[in-house]
């Protein structure tokens, strides 16, 4: 019943004048289908709606057909089919080209974590003083994803983007919470905090890349690695702000001081492997202008982290 009614009503609708011709015919019968519309079940009303919808396309004010009637039109069917095919084409195009701009497969390596790894990493960020082995564990010349090697007796420090990403978002939310408890919150402030922190991150990455280029360091430190390392300080910032919310300024300064020291040590130990040459990384102080310069660079990067941690959070704790 349904398709037959559609087939009959479908073809004339594509041209304008048959619909004009149909309206006077349906005008006398307007009252009856209208009443039947309100009273009968959806099956009946859809049948009537299909027959009346062609007349209603050109004259929307004449009757009140339910919205569902439009979905049963052949034109809307075609529109839906066209839209879905367009979406499929667009998705194909995006999938083909996304790998050129964002290395998706490489990014997946950075996000392959599990909760145990995240717990260990957080513990290491807060208390890096006892950890012995800081090398990245390799497996046939490519770094091992963190998920696979949780039970190794000597720990390792692969780089993952998951803790910094989570920490960044949590920092924005905690900042909103802190502003809210001081009655200074408004929704656009949240976006402002997020973009401000992102802008500082970008400035840091660019500054470090520039200084690495100037000192001609041949490292395997990729940009994503750098972003991940710089993102670790957000963990300390979150801890500081939360403590500041709970215990006031004393708690904030205590936790912030502790996390600053930890991030300082963590950064130095991590970057020493990447930036300095192998000989210096063993702990032997090598003379030479180049290595000294690299040591200064590592120190500067590590020292900038606590400064930024303080700068980005002190206005949140009053």
């Amino acid at each position: 019943m349904h398709p037959a009614g559609l087939a009959a009503a479908g073809t004339p609708r594509l041209r304008k004048w048959p619909s004009k011709r149909r309206v006077p015919m349906s005008q006398p019968g307007m009252a009856d289908p209208h009443q039947l519309f309100d009273d009968t079940s959806s099956a009946h009303s859809r049948g009537y709606g299909a027959q009346r919808a062609p007349g209603n396309l050109g004259y929307p004010a004449t009757s009140a057909s339910p919205q569902a009637a439009f979905l049963t039109n052949p034109v809307s069917d075609m529109a839906v089919a066209y839209g879905s095919s367009l979406a499929a084409q667009g998705k194909e195009l995006v999938d083909k080209n996304i790998d050129r701009f964002i290395p998706v497969s490489k990014l997946k390596y950075y996000f392959a974590v599990d909760t145990v790894y995240v717990g260990k990493k957080l513990g290491l960020l807060i208390f890096p003083y006892l950890h012995q082995d800081w090398e990245v564990q390799y497996q046939q010349d490519t770094p091992v994803a963190p998920r696979f090697d949780v039970n190794a007796p000597d720990l390792y420090i692969p780089v993952s983007l998951s803790p910094p990403a989570m920490a960044f978002i949590t920092y924005v939310l905690v900042a909103g919470l802190a502003l809210g408890t001081q009655d200074r919150f408004s929704p656009d402030l949240l976006g402002l905090q997020a973009s401000s922190a992102l802008a500082w991150l970008t400035v840091e990455v660019l500054a470090i890349l520039l200084s690495l280029y100037l000192v001609t360091v041949n490292t395997d430190l990729t940009t994503i690695d750098l972003v991940a390392f710089l993102g670790y300080k957000y963990v300390g910032m979150i801890g500081g702000v939360l403590m500041g919310l709970l215990f006031g300024k004393i708690g904030y300064y205590l936790v912030l001081g502790w996390c600053c020291m930890s991030i300082f040590v963590f950064m130095i130990r991590t970057l020493r492997l990447k930036i300095l040459s192998e000989a210096a990384a063993e702990g032997v102080p090598v003379r030479g202008a180049r290595n000294q310069l690299r040591m200064y660079l590592t120190m500067a990067v590590a020292a900038a982290q606590p400064l930024l941690m303080y700068w980005l959070t002190f206005h949140l704790v009053r």
Partner: protein, 82 residues
């Protein structure tokens, strides 16, 4: 602390403009930073100064045309929207 991405873009544009206006003959040569004065031997140690000079020269060469476009767009947008 309203340090938005937009102000970052503006600051970056101004910095690149500043690098691009350093004139080779009138200025850089006079302070010994010309590009033909810096290329030392083929040792492994380029040094910071020659790296900086290379950076300045490459920025000036590469960003000349895009800077024209981006500056014009920025000027028009700032005139229209303040």
């Amino acid at each position: 602390m309203a340090f938005t991405l937009y102000s970052l873009l503006q600051a970056a544009l101004l910095c690149v403009n500043a690098i691009a206006v350093l004139h080779e003959e009138r200025f850089l040569k006079n302070i010994g930073w010309g590009t033909d004065q810096g290329i030392g031997g083929f040792g492994e140690e380029p040094g910071i100064k020659s790296q900086l000079m290379n950076l300045i020269r490459s920025v000036r060469t590469v960003m000349r045309v895009p800077l024209i476009i981006v500056n014009s767009v920025t000027i028009v947008l700032l005139l229209l929207f303040g």
